[in-house]
């Protein structure tokens, strides 16, 4: 009887020690901990949609190929969160989209070109951060209607967002939760195009929820990325954006100045120089349609581009 209890106490103590041991071990090596990235280690983050994670893998692996130590922090959330994490140094590199970033930093900006966009961002950016060279690859948010809605209101590939003017009050629009409050979202659709929708349904950042909801007509209009392979597959009709609400959306790495060495900056710029929209579409399709692992896709492309 006594021995039994003694054994149990020993077992409990051992379990406790084991757990404590685990935790202190990880405390040292855990890159996800809240603290700053340290010791020349570059932390590459991504937002919560597949293309962002793919781009993080591409930029991260390019850094690794130059012998730089990289850790990843994927699928974090929205820009509203990741920008803060860059500012406090928990992240050091994030693949960004220049137009969306500008709209976040300055909702009133109306740039006329990609160069203007980059220049405008640089005036608004936190002093600790800098934007590297833009790539030619573009992925815009786009407002798309499903096939049934397009038929009903005679919308075609030539139609614009402004054509929704008379009918928006009958349509449910879907997008990521952050779309509800963003300038490149409900706020801008109202102020720039004068659209008031029947209601807004919070989905995800152009992911499975959004694709399914639009397909099943739970929403008639949705925010879909222009590189999304499902646009062609489901015959969604993206509407033109003559007022440039969704702006110029080049993939462009946003980095913490002190965290990336000149060698690292060169490696990142070399990737951006080779990346274009057709390439991005192809790589997205490999991940989302052919179900390949994003890291494998990233490595294979870097190798073929001579950067891996």
């Amino acid at each position: 009887m006594r021995r039994n209890r003694g054994a149990a106490v020993v077992a409990l103590a051992a379990a406790t020690a084991l757990l404590a041991g685990c935790s202190s071990h990880s405390g040292k090596s855990d890159p996800l901990a809240g603290g700053k990235a340290s010791g020349g280690e570059v932390v590459v983050g991504s937002n919560n949609f597949p293309e962002s994670t793919l781009l993080a893998d591409i930029y991260g692996e390019a850094l690794k190929a130059k012998g730089i130590k990289v850790t990843y922090k994927p699928n974090i959330g929205s820009r509203e969160t990741t920008y803060g994490l860059l500012k406090n140094g928990s992240l050091s590199v994030l693949p960004e989209y220049n137009g969306a970033l500008l709209a976040y930093l300055d909702p009133k900006a109306t740039p006329k070109s990609a160069e203007e966009t980059t220049a405008a961002i640089k005036t608004k950016l936190d002093a600790k951060l800098t934007l590297l060279e833009p790539s030619a690859a573009e992925d815009k948010d786009s407002l798309a209607v499903n096939a049934a809605t397009a038929r009903k209101y005679h919308l075609t590939g030539q139609s614009t967002i402004a054509d929704l003017k008379g009918v928006a009050k009958d349509l449910v629009i879907g997008g990521s939760p952050e779309f509800q409050t963003r300038q490149q979202g409900l706020a801008g659709l109202k102020s720039v195009y004068g659209l008031d929708f029947k209601s807004f349904k919070a989905l995800d950042a152009g992911g499975t929820l959004t694709q399914t909801a639009l397909k099943k007509n739970d929403v008639q209009v949705a925010d879909i990325f222009s590189t999304d392979p499902t646009i062609a597959k489901e015959k969604f009709v993206p509407l033109k954006d003559p007022e440039n609400l969704f702006g110029f959306q080049n993939v462009q790495p946003l980095v913490v100045k002190s965290a990336v060495s000149p060698k690292g900056v060169d490696a990142l710029n070399a990737v951006s120089a080779k990346l274009d929209t057709a390439t991005l579409l192809d790589l997205d399709a490999q991940v989302q349609n052919q179900r390949k692992d994003p890291l494998d896709v990233a490595k294979a492309w870097l190798k073929s581009a001579g950067l891996g």
Binding site: G84, F200, K201, A202, L209, K216
Partner: protein, 222 residues
Amino acid sequence: MNVLDFAHSFFGDPAHWHGYDGIPTRLVEHITYSLEALLLAAVIALPVGLVTGHYGRGGNALALIATAGRALPSFGLLVLMFIWLGFGLVPVMIPLVVLAVPPILVTTYEAMRSVDPSPVDAARGMGMSEARVLFQVEVPVALPLILSGLRTAAIQIISTATIAAYVSLGGLGRYIIDGLYQRDYEKVVGGATLVAALALATLALFWAASRLAVSRGVRGSA
């Protein structure tokens, strides 16, 4: 800004009080999900708990089912059901019911087992049918404990129903999920405050129900 300031500005903003994203709409949605889940769970768990408790059989099997039910992660189940079944209320109801069945089941069983056997035997001796023994002798005595099981289930449902917002449904979780992605603390704190208030109101409701429904004799002895 502290938590109270966030709550104050959330509730003070008139825009939060009307429309499809207004507090009344979201509150009604949340209460609807919660009530539906609680009713479903009660319809499943109460009869099973009453009958097994009455006959005193199957206690071990119930304990196993309850443990398995508790071990299934609500959030994981939600995502899995969403992947399998798509949009709708069913993928939300399944995890909520799985969450609520164990406390109702186990407490009802234990409540029935804890009923003093002597009046039960007396009632049988008087020639009462098993059904009358169950509903007229055992259930009135077991009611306080049975209600406490339902209360535990209700509180857990109310807190967990917030995950419905992850699969694009409404309810108070909408404010918390939207607040996470919009980095809007007012919404998060406002949503959490509403959930906690709803839970407290539920506690009060159960307290009142037990005052009304439990016979004075039982209350005195409990």
